[in-house]
């Protein structure tokens, strides 16, 4: 058997929950695996429902022909983003690197297998969107029979190009970082810069459209998607193959994917060992002189350990601190551009007074700050080091208090900065600003303790790759989605109540609710911590 296939088989088997279920006798672990599978299926069903509803909307407005391009763009964006956050951890800097590289595999084969492994792991996400949108498209557009197998076949190919582009960017970042002594820090900073660029590129593109006066062409979704297909060629090829039954488009999508794949891994293979050597090794200065040791309280010592754990991992840093960085940027941008102008841009100059959005300021900031709480993944991140904290003569509650304290240290300053910037820019009164800060503090406390509940309840120590618990853990999903959607709802509610009641009263009411929720979550953490 070809060695690459052997490696792929082992990688997939090692990630297979069914394999783990079959070979464990631990009833608790089996229950956990079953729960995990059910949870994942529920998420796939939700994605499928969303995709079908999108097609229903397209069908009702008579623009069902835009569905293939829309599907191509959604899957491409998803593939790009998922890969970007996983390149470091899956493709580079993975735990079993020594074991694999000591075996007779070519570096390029290891890198390619790791990429394909990433691709196969994400495939159910892509296919759930694909099947649902195909069903919707089939129902409304009534295409010929050939469309169905072509759509399904190309669904396997479509995510490859954006994933390759994303992996290549990850490779470039890793390659550049490998040349520095503080590899990890440089890699983290470069990743941050790139992600922020991606977030802001939406506005840059919109601006370009406006300058070229193409805005009119974006007046309908149909035009927008066909416009996107002109810019992002693989989406156009996919649509051409589906709607126009174009063999050329089909071959182009397939051919370019294969060529890019081969080219990328030929390039990556050449520096693969060099990059991993740099990422997995740390320079020793051996110049340390013992001086100025300080005593910390136990909780602070745990919090400091959490801080070092975070700064030591690019994946943890990028995922855990992204919200804080975005909140900081939001504050700076608001201060420079002005609250009113930003509101006008986001709402496309809707005719209303931006002041009515003031009660939503703490929730807008919380949208970023509460995006990820470090307390969700930090219990699982202990992994093989779990014994260290457990064997120390400290109460289990103290460990989690330390973890929560770190998240508060991380979130509160950014929350305060961003809130103050927005309040100053929106000319919010001093009293209201103070109330929004207190509300922000209460929300940070809620995010921290609720995150910790999710983290302890879904603790997973036997991970192969830290990305599994930082990005894909059950705790992260359970924390992230309800928190995000509830926050959006509360944001709307705050604006609505603000138009009818005094802003101070609404702020006080929300502070009260947030404090109660924080207290409940905190008590739950204290209770759960005794069992873990």
């Amino acid at each position: 058997m070809n060695n690459s296939i052997v490696l792929m088989k082992a990688l997939l088997l090692s990630a297979s929950r069914v394999n783990a279920y079959r070979h464990t006798t631990d009833a608790k672990k089996r229950k956990k695996i079953t729960g995990g599978i059910i949870g994942t299926v529920v998420i796939y069903v939700m994605i499928m429902a969303y995709s079908v509803s999108l097609c229903i909307g397209f069908g009702k407005y008579g623009i069902i022909d835009a569905a293939p391009v829309m599907y191509a763009i959604i899957v491409s964006a998803l593939g790009f983003i998922l890969t970007l956050f996983r390149t470091n951890g899956y493709l580079f800097n993975f735990r079993e690197y020594d074991m694999l590289m000591a075996l007779p595999f070519k570096s390029s084969a290891v890198a390619a297998c790791k990429f394909l492994y990433m691709y196969i792991k994400c495939l159910p996400w892509y296919l759930s969107i694909s099947i649902a949108m195909l069903a919707g498209y089939g129902y409304f557009a009534k295409p010929c029979f050939l469309t169905y197998p072509v759509w399904i076949a190309l669904s396997f190919v479509l995510p490859i190009i954006p994933m390759l582009i994303s992996a290549f960017i990850g490779f470039l970042i890793a390659r550049v970082s490998a040349g520095f002594r503080k590899t990890n820090i440089v890699q983290t900073v470069l990743t941050f810069i790139f992600v922020i660029f991606c977030f802001s590129s939406r506005f840059i593109i919109e601006d370009l459209f406006k300058n070229d006066k193409i805005e009119e062409t974006l007046s309908t979704i149909s035009d927008a998607t066909s416009n996107a297909a002109n810019y992002y060629l693989p989406a156009g090829w996919f649509a051409g193959a589906i709607i126009g039954q174009s063999l050329t488009d089909m071959l182009l999508l397939l051919g370019v994917s294969v060529i890019l794949f081969a080219a990328l891994f030929a390039i990556v293979g050449k520096s693969y060992r060099n990059i991993n050597s740099a990422l997995k090794s740390h320079a020793a200065s051996k110049r340390y002189r013992m001086s100025g040791q300080k005593k910390k309280s136990v909780v602070n010592a745990v919090a400091f350990k959490e801080f070092k754990r975070m700064t030591g991992s690019t994946a943890y840093m990028v995922n855990g601190a992204m919200g804080e960085i975005l909140a900081f940027l939001l504050g700076v941008v608001t201060l420079i551009i002005g609250f009113d102008k930003i509101v006008a841009t986001v709402t496309n100059n809707a005719p209303f007074d931006p002041a009515i959005l003031q009660p939503a300021i703490p929730f807008i900031v919380y949208f970023f700050i509460g995006m990820v709480a470090t307390t969700v993944c930090s219990p699982s991140l202990e992994g093989k080091n779990y014994w260290i904290m457990q064997s120390l003569p400290i109460e289990k509650e103290t460990i989690y208090k330390g973890k929560m304290l770190f998240n508060m240290y991380l979130t509160v300053p950014f929350m305060a900065f961003s809130t103050v910037c927005m309040c100053v820019s929106a000319k919010v009164s001093a009293v209201n600003t103070l109330l929004y800060l207190i509300l922000g503090l209460a929300l940070c406390a809620f995010s921290t303790s609720w995150g910790c509940v999710c983290g302890i309840k879904h603790i997973r120590l036997d991970w192969e790759n830290e990305i599994e618990v930082i990005k894909q853990g059950a705790g992260v999903m359970i924390y992230l989605l309800p928190n995000m959607f509830a926050n959006m709802g509360v944001c709307v509610l705050a604006v609505f109540l603000g138009t009818r009641l005094d802003h101070r009263i609404t702020a006080l009411a929300f502070i009260f609710i947030a404090v109660i929720l924080s207290a409940i979550s905190y008590r739950r953490v204290m209770k759960l911590s005794k069992t873990r």
Partner: protein
């Protein structure tokens, strides 16, 4: 029965960034049939050298040859005849022991009959046959180490490289491993391993090298180096110079 050079390290150096050199102009030769001990303090550069030998760590200065093949230019050829057991084996935790061993056997293209015979032989010797159907995540450190050792032996390597192999092994497994090392050397395999346990090195090795701050400060046959003294005395004396 020392004869052919199985491992040649020539002027190998490794620096991380612009920091101190972890390995500095390391030169040594391990011949087939040798049991070569690599001794040094923690952080002396043993693992850095070993990881470069097995093709895990990239390096720019110097050359490493395994059975005449360059690690830099012909890494696959080198890895086909080498086996490596790291100090802390990171195996696929969600595979069972037997699935992992089959994975390694597949990589080396070992036939079904041959692998079954080898796995059974070594698993019985290390007394983990009954656990091979369990997930590796349920294994103790010692059991993982034993699994890694079996995976290293099933393809009959010409060069066996071990990083602190006795850490975490029970006394019986330690004895078994030492016996296996002897047996392999009698069959022409070269063994190169790092250790802190000087007693083990003294009894087991026919050659040793002592590394300090990345540089080899003493190397040669055990007889030449010790000359009636204990290895501990030789090590401490070399270390103090």
């Amino acid at each position: 029965m020392s004869e052919k050079a199985m491992l040649e390290i020539k002027h190998y150096s490794k620096a991380y960034g612009k920091g101190t050199k972890a390995a500095d102009d390391v030169c040594l030769t391990v011949e087939s049939g040798d049991i070569y001990g690599f001794i040094g303090h923690n952080g002396a550069g043993k693992s850095t050298t070993i990881r470069a030998v097995v093709g895990v760590l990239d390096f720019t200065e110097g050359e490493i040859f395994i059975d005449g093949h360059s690690v830099k230019d012909e890494p696959i050829e080198c890895k086909k005849i080498t086996a490596y057991i790291p100090d802390n084996p990171d195996l696929y935790e969600n595979l069972t022991g037997i699935q992992y061993l089959n994975f390694v056997a597949d990589v080396f293209g070992i036939s079904a009959e041959e692998r079954e015979k080898s796995i059974k032989k070594y698993a019985d010797l290390f007394e983990i046959t009954n656990s091979l159907g369990d997930l590796i995540s349920s294994y103790s450190h010692g059991m993982k180490q034993k699994t890694a050792i079996i995976s290293a032996l099933i393809h009959k390597p010409k060069l066996l490289v071990l990083d602190e192999p006795f850490v975490g092994l029970d006394p019986k497994a330690t004895f078994t491993l030492k016996e296996l090392m002897h047996e392999m050397c009698q069959n022409g395999t070269a063994v190169f391993f790092s250790t802190h346990v000087l007693d083990v090195a003294e009894k087991l090795c026919n050659k040793i090298a002592i590394i300090k701050q990345g540089r080899i400060i003493a190397s040669g046959s055990m007889k030449e180096l010790t000359e009636g003294h204990s290895l501990e005395e030789v090590f401490l004396e070399a270390d103090n110079e």
